[in-house]
Structures are given as C-alpha cells and as structure tokens.
Symmetry: C2
Subunit: 514 residues, 2 copies
C-alpha cells in the first residue's frame, strides 16, 4: 500500500474504524490505491496504527461489502476492480411513500415516481447487505410447503410467533412467550388493530395521548379510525409524564417511543418509565410501546423494553422488521401482556373476523430467515454499518453553531434542530434544489402551528458516497445560513451535478408509520 | 374396461361430466377397474355414450388430477396406483379462523387446533390442484429481485395492479385501468380501508347499509371502526333497494353482493342495480360491491359487475384471490371509480401514512402467477371441479321436503333453509357430533334475534370422498328430521368412524370476511 501509514485521530468523535474505512475509501477513489493492489494484513495494519485488530477486520469487511476490497477466503486482500455501485434505479416497484413523487398532487397512482438523487428521508434501512442466499432459500422453502385453503391462523403462524419471541429475547432482552405474539402487516396494521379495540363500548370516542413531536402518520392513523389524539410534549429524555397527568380526562391509551424517542432521540429514564406505568395502572389505560428501531443502539447501554417492567398487563409492545430488514416485507408484531385477557380477547375477536393479513407463505419465509440466523447476522452487520455512517454524520455536522445535532444514540436517523422556522424551510428547499431529500422536523408536530424548526434525515439506506455528498450539502447549507457570504468548506459540494433531479419537497411528508 | 358402458341420465340436474366422473371413480374405488387397467380413449367413450368428447376429456382430466387416472402425454390412459389421498394434516400452520379450535375460549392462541374430520365450513377453495410448479417459480422469481429499502408503493406494485386489471377484464368483463386498482391484504383490509375514509369529517359517525343475512364478520369489522350498520333484508334476487329507501336517514354507503348474494345466492337483476345506482347518486353515497366469488358461475349467464354500470363514480368494487386461489395469500384489491377523486385522495392519504400492507415480494409473485396464465388455468380447472362438486350436492340434497337447497348458481357454497330454529340448531349439533362442520345460517344475520334457520356449507375444499360422506350425513340428518324413525337411504353414513373428532360447533362462526 502506497502512502504513509494511516493516521487516526483518537480525540475525534468519529470512531476509529470509521476513520480507517473513510481513509482507505478515499485512497481507492483518489487512485493512490489501485485495483489489484494488495492491502496490508489486518494484523500488520492494526499493529502499525496501534488499534485493535478487530477494528481493522470490521473496516475491511465493510469495504469488501461496499465493493472497494476483494477479500476472498484464504487469499491476500486486494483492492477490487471498481464497478460503479449500482445505484438503485428509479424502479417504480421500489418507490415507497417516502419518495416524493408518490406524494405529488395525485399522490399514489403514479406508475414510476422519480427518486431524489440523494434520498436521506428517514425510516429507510440499508438493504444492500441482506444475505440474498438466505433470503432466497427462505422463500423457496416457504413456497414448497403445501398450500392451505384457509387464511393464516388469527395471531399468525405458530412457527413465526415462536421465532419472533426468540428474536425479542435475544435482541431486546424481553422474556415473552410465543402465545403473546400477534403477527401484523407492519407497524401500521398493528396500530390499526389496537385502534379498533381501544375504548370500544364506552359510548364515547376513544382517546389516545401521543408524543409531540412524534409519528405524524400514526396520529393520522388513529384519527382516521375515530380515536381522538392528545399531543404531549417531549423533552431531552422523551415523553413528559407530568403533562400527561395534567390532561383533564385520562385517555384510554398512550403511545410512546421510550427506547429512542421518534424523532428527537431521547431515552426515557427508568424513573419516568415507572411513573408512566403507575399512571396507566391508576387510570386503567393501555401503554403502546413503539419499539421501532431498538435493535440499533450506538451509545449508552440499551434499556430493556418498557414492557419488561410491566407487572399489571398494561403495556403492549409494537415492533417490526421494517428497520431490521426492510419495510418492503410488511412484517410486524404485537407483544400482548400475558395477563390482560380483555385485550387479548378483543384482538382475537377482531382477527377471527378479519383474519391475519400477512400471507402465510411470507410468515413461513420470515420464520425461516429468523431461524437460520440470517436476521441476527444481518443486524450485526447493519449495526456496524450504521455505527460507521453515524460517524460520518458526526464528522460532517457535529458542533456547527446554532444547529445542534441529536437523535444519534441509536437507530438510523439524525435531527438537526434550528431556531427559526423560515430558515428551516429555506434549508429544506435549498437541499431539495440540490437533489437531497430530507424531512422537515415541523412535519412531526402533532399540535397545530408551525412546528419545531429543523430537519430529520436518515443515514442508513444511501450508499456511503451518496451520504457523504448529502452531508456535505447539508453542512454547506448550514454554514451559508450562518454567513451567506462564506465559502463552503468543501467547494465540491457547491457544484450541483447537472443531472440533479428536481424534487418538490413541499409535498414531502415524513416516513409512514411502517 | 370391464362392466357395461356407462349410462348417463340426461334428465338429471347433475351435469353429464360429473356423472361420468362419479361413475368412473366408483368403479375404481369398487375394484371393478384396477390399477394399470387401460380406460377407453376419450373419443371411443364419447362415441359409445353419445356425449361430447370434450366432456370426457374434462372428466379424465379431473380424475387424473384427483389421482384416479394416470394420463401421461402420448400414452394410453390407465387407472393409477391408488395412493391414499393426502388428507390435510391438522397442521397448525394451516389452521385458519374457520376451524373450530381456534374459536374456543382463548380463541386465537392455540398452537395446534384440531380440525373437524369433514370440514364443510364455507369460504374455503380447493387448493389441491394449484399448479405447484408455477407457484414455486413465481415465488422464486420474486425472491430473486432486489430488496428495496422502502415500503411497497401506496396503491401496490405497478406490475401487479396491471395484472389485476387484466384479470378483471377477462374474468369479470370489467373495463378498468391499472390506475384504478388498489392492492389490499385480502377483502378485510380493503373494507377496513374503506371504513377509515367513510363519511369522515361529517361530525357524526359514518353509517353503512348491509345485507341481512350477509357477511357477519364484515358487519363487525365496520362496527369496530365506529361505523354504524343498518341491516337491509334480501329476497330471492338479493338486496332489497326498497327497504334501503325506507331508512329515515340515508347512510354514507351500502355494501352489496350483487353477483351472488352471500350467503343466500340471489343475483341482483339489472333493473334493481340501476335503482341502487340512482339511489346512490341521489344521496351522494358509496356502493361497495363485494365481488367475492364471481369467477365461478355455474348456472345462468354471468352479469357484469355492478361497477361496470356505474357512470357517476359511486361504485367501488372489492375483490380478492381468496376464492380464486386461497385466502392463505391475503391478496385482494379495490377497483376505484376513476372519476371519484375525493375517494381516491382519501385512500391515497391513508395509504401514504400507513403504507401498502402487502409484502412487495408477494405482490411480485402474484403478478407473476397472473402473468404466466397460472391463475387463469387454475380458475378453469376449479370451475370444472366445483361444477362437479355442485352436482354431488344436488344429487344428495336436492328436492328434500322442507329443506330447500339454494345458493348454487355460482360460487363454492350452498344453503339448506329450514323452517324451525330449534331443528336447525339440532341439525348443526348432530352433524358436529358426526365430525361434519357446517355453519348455522343464523350466524349470518345482521339483525338481532334468532336469525334464519338453516345451514351453510362449502363444497370446494374437501376431497370428493369427504364431500360425499359429509353430504350423506347431512341428507341422513335431514331425512331423520322429517321422520326420525326412518332408515337412512345410505346405511353406510350411519356408521360414524370411531376416530371422529369431536368439534364444539357452538363456538363456530361463519368464515371471516377473507
């Protein structure tokens, strides 16, 4: 390998592995490392830099996954023939609601929506490293099973329920039984199911307290089903239980994201969790724990699910494989509190009438993916990848004056808060003009009014190249905002590519509830 | 072939092909035709009996599909080695909500519900002849596609929407565009989606007129979402528009099964259809056309879908592949009236927030199955099979005094109406005791009260052997009811097998909405 040994900056917030990957990538892209060149052994490089060998192994793994290195078993690792990374075509089949064209005037009927050139909309995981062999095997096996003449069992195929319980034991430390699992068509169907049983038979419209800011699509989901929603503010730690107590009438349920407040990122402390449970007990209310991305925790020890603290059958956990794998498969679940037979019976009656909406064959395929360990391995790979990406975000945007970065303790999105609504809208529009799609933080407001200024963006799905370019543009825009006359730090970001896709972000909503 | 040439009875209501299949099957089972014996060529047999050769071809096809004949390309058709037809094991994975154990005290959480020995619950198609090769190929191809990081497009994958529109053109004579199709997770999710947009923003609870008797699970589905339902009686022809007009306040929508009233079987005449459309126009109401089994029409010309008469954007058609293929795949669709942009926007907003619930991979697989012609071929095969089964039903139960048989013009279920509620309950219980599961007609009542006496049963999913035995038991029970001392016509039906599974039918509900 040419060039001096790589220097790492131990004082930087960027993890050592991310620095290493970054530098090696830069050398390959810059041509100082050429296709076919051998790179040092992981042992040699680790020793030369003075870092743990496992960090180097992970960095090489990542670069191999990205196509920069070719590390066949037993052979010397070399720089790979660089083939342009397949950018996801604007495949109509893949264009989800998070894409902008799908949200234009006639929102959902466009056959082939254009994608923004750099899609940093939140809620999109990385799927480039899904083990396609396990994936195909799982579907092949599921397709080989006999085809029943019935709907799938109301709560889901037993094998999948067992695998989900097992997954939650390992990934979330949640001790639950397969009997407690209800298989759902993603989070939104899970919430719709809860909405249909909430406070029915009381003679008045059911009410739900929700986080503000929070999932706006979840709020609308409940309202569409006749549930009144009451926004409750969040602070640095998450949900404000004190504000919940001040509501004149206790709602039938409260929905929270205690592990990683969406979108701001707070983690509800144990004391507040206990207060929330006490409130629920006192008011015979349900707590809906939206555990949407807890498999990915980058900083600080993960707290167990709120459901694991529940002793009185008040907490129902909602989870999905949308972030763990992809929302493309529409696979989620409820974990019912085992002692709450009223809730279980109501959901059972609903499912008896309406059937489990997840195709039996998909249930078997996902069960197979979980059983084979492919999901567990994918989470491990993704966790490393997201930690690296998070490093890129911090390197580009941390410490900019007047633009605090948050939400990064876990998950796959980040938030830049701003102080001024007009400047925030201008930022989103400017990025839009440069082909970078991000979501305005104001869209996450549950209350009416202008909403909090800032942006929310995801860092999991784009390629590294896209992410680095997108971050440079965000940084440039934020710096210009401070001093419009200032030159950008990175001049290259000034040059919007000629073929930038124009994206009308005025119609962009945050990601669907998944 | 031993024995005299088969006689067919041209005066019988049983189709000639069904008679032929029946007789050949009887000879194989009775041993007068043995494994390896050649059967006459289709041409020779057709000529000998004096019926169309195509009838004989269809009969041989069917017997080959059932495993009685071995008709390899180019070789003489022979009686096959008889292997016991694989009765579907009480596979927990396959046990749907229609099975009884899933409805016991803790309805939905049982891991391995027992199935009734002869499951004649309605709503279950025949899946034994699905072309497994096409099925597996379709899933394999879908699994080989790139895995997107987004939810599927709000209204579904474009390719599937195009294939569904094409299917409806051919199977239902409905001229619709792919733009009008919304892919849903079966009929129930389609109805839930409609419920969430129905009469919202009017400040009062939305109201829906439904058929009585009708789909009880659909009624509860709407009520669970805060929609008030108004039962409207049905007569021989179906929905009673006059009764709809008499409602003090016009509802926001009306749900009808005009092609084949569920469960009674009436077909709404064109004049009544026009009246219904006029009423909808006058009251700005939506008409939900539940087109649940119209691909199978046995008698009388099929009427085009009500939606095809709609000129003012009032009719939304709901269909699924649940009867065409299997409810196991949870695949349905809405056909939106192209001119009703309000409805389209409301559904688009819902789907933008909640995403399309059908896994992208399932959408591609089903699109492939439709495109390859496998679904069309399966409908053709099933139609012949159901016509044959319908013949068995008529042969066993037609003309019994005091027990009129109806619902048989199309579809895959039949109704025996009775005059007395107590006798009806006793019939269901007796059949239950003999291991035959049927649904009480009273369960289909939308209004409170005892409901109409009678039974509803499906004839599509069971094997011929099971169906014949089940029908004999129904016949025996009906005859005994007329004259308890009378001997049954078929003494063999008197002998309930020792291993009859006891089934508690008191908890059995009719099939879920699908």
């Amino acid at each position: 390998m040419d060039g001096p040994i790589i220097d790492v900056d131990r004082s930087s917030a960027v993890p050592l592995g991310a620095q290493l990957v970054d530098e090696l990538r830069r050398r390959v892209l810059g041509g100082s490392l050429r296709p076919g060149d051998p790179v040092p052994s992981t042992r040699a490089l680790a020793s030369a830099i003075g870092i743990s060998r496992s960090v180097v192994v992970a960095a090489y793994d990542q670069l191999a996954g990205e196509g920069y290195l070719d590390s066949r078993q037993g052979a010397v690792t070399r720089v790979a023939e660089l083939q342009p990374r397949t950018e996801r075509a604007a495949d109509a089949a893949a264009a989800g609601p998070g894409t902008t064209a799908a949200r234009s005037a006639s929102p959902s009927v466009e056959a082939a929506p254009a994608e923004p050139r750099i899609n940093l909309l939140p809620g999109r995981p990385s799927t480039s490293r899904v083990d396609t062999r396990s994936w195909r095997t799982a579907w092949r096996r599921a397709a080989a099973l006999e085809i029943p003449a019935d709907s799938p069992p109301p709560f889901g195929v037993p094998r999948l329920r067992a695998e989900i319980a097992d997954h939650l034991r390992h990934a979330r430390g949640l001790d639950c039984s397969p009997d407690d699992i209800v298989v759902t068509a993603g989070t939104s169907e899970a919430l719709g199911l809860l909405a249909s049983v909430l406070g029915r038979g009381t003679g008045r419209a059911p009410a739900l307290a929700i986080e503000d800011p929070g999932y706006p699509s979840a709020r609308r989901l409940f309202e569409r089903r006749g549930v009144r929603t009451h926004p409750i503010g969040v602070d640095r730690d998450g949900f404000d239980v004190e504000a919940l107590r001040r509501l004149p009438l206790a709602p039938d349920a409260v929905m929270v994201t205690p592990s990683h407040q969406y979108p701001l990122g707070g983690r509800l402390p144990v004391a507040t969790r206990l207060e929330l449970l006490a409130w629920a007990g006192a008011h015979d209310a349900l707590v809906i724990e939206d555990d949407y991305d807890s498999e990915f925790r980058h900083l600080g020890p993960p707290l167990p699910a709120l459901a694991s603290l529940d002793r009185s059958g008040r907490v129902v956990l909602v989870g999905s494989l949308s972030k763990v794998l992809t929302p493309w498969i529409r696979l989620g679940y409820l974990v019912l509190p085992p002692t709450n037979s009223g809730l279980r019976d109501a959901i059972g009656a609903s499912r008896d009438d309406e059937a489990c909406p997840v195709p039996g064959i998909a249930q078997h395929a996902i069960a197979e993916l979980l059983a084979s360990g492919a999901v567990r391995r994918h989470i491990a790979v993704s966790r490393r990848e997201y930690a690296h990406r998070r490093g890129l975000v911090l390197a580009a945007l941390d410490g900019l004056p007047g633009a605090p970065l948050s939400g990064l303790d876990g998950g796959l999105h980040a938030v830049v808060e701003l102080s001024d609504a007009a400047a925030s809208a201008a930022l989103v529009n400017r990025l839009d003009g440069e082909g970078v799609a991000v979501a305005p933080l104001s869209d996450y407001s549950a209350a009416s009014g202008p909403g909090r200024p800032g942006i929310v963006f995801g860092y999991a799905a784009p390629s590294d190249t896209q992410l680095v370019e997108g971050l440079a543009r965000i940084r440039g825009a934020l710096l210009d905002r401070l001093d419009p006359a200032a030159r950008r730090v990175d001049a290259s970001a000034r040059n919007p590519a000629a073929n930038t896709t124009k994206v009308d972000l005025s119609t962009t909503r945050p990601d669907p509830v998944g």
